[in-house]
Symmetry: C2
Subunit: 119 residues, 2 copies
């Protein structure tokens, strides 16, 4: 175990790129909607505004989820894991979380012969 495990101090551990992982989970249904990344600024804005902000690795830009689509994620609670390098956001989704228009980004199941669509 490490110091981060049992402390009541919030000591988010960003990786060498200044990022940590954030899972968004529907606060009501428990459905996992998406996994994205946050830098310090995205985390601060999320905590201040109560709306999920992420860091887009592909665009190298801060990104408020739903800024263009309107499908924001209202954050009801933020949990942190034992070593404080991952967050779990309990959210209310204003619309589909996935850019494909699906409720969740996890809409395909891995099988023997490739992927099958579940959503």
């Amino acid at each position: 175990m490490t110091d981060r495990d049992e402390t009541a101090e919030f000591l988010p551990k960003f990786d060498e790129k200044g990022l940590l992982s954030a899972i968004a989970q529907d606060a009501e249904s428990g459905e996992v909607l998406m996994l994205a990344h946050m830098n310090r600024e995205a985390l601060d804005r999320t905590l201040e505004s109560g709306e999920a902000h992420f860091w887009s690795r592909s665009r190298a830009a801060l990104w408020k989820k739903g800024e263009t689509s309107g499908n924001i994620l209202r954050v009801r609670a933020v949990l942190v894991d034992c070593d404080q390098d991952a967050l779990l956001l309990k959210v209310e989704a204003a619309g589909p979380a996935c850019h494909t228009g699906r409720r969740t980004c996890f809409y395909r199941e891995v099988g023997q012969d490739g992927l099958s669509f579940t959503g």
Copy 2:
């Protein structure tokens, strides 16, 4: 959208370190248990054995979850996200998923004055 979004081909996208993120979620309760990383070998072993294997970034070693503790994660389903760089494992946990002995690694909530323990 990209080619990975709508294909039925499993094309896991490993990052420059050869890793992708894997979320373990209790298949029954929906509780998110942990977030860890997989390299190609961890993924292959997980799919072959039906038991979760990860890559430990801190120890730089392949790691079968529960190998020493006995708290293995039986994998009921593996879902992949839109851009195929994250997996969602629906699991049955043989015991606490967290190395601290807690059911989930997400046992603290971020608040104004630090963390409060929820588990």
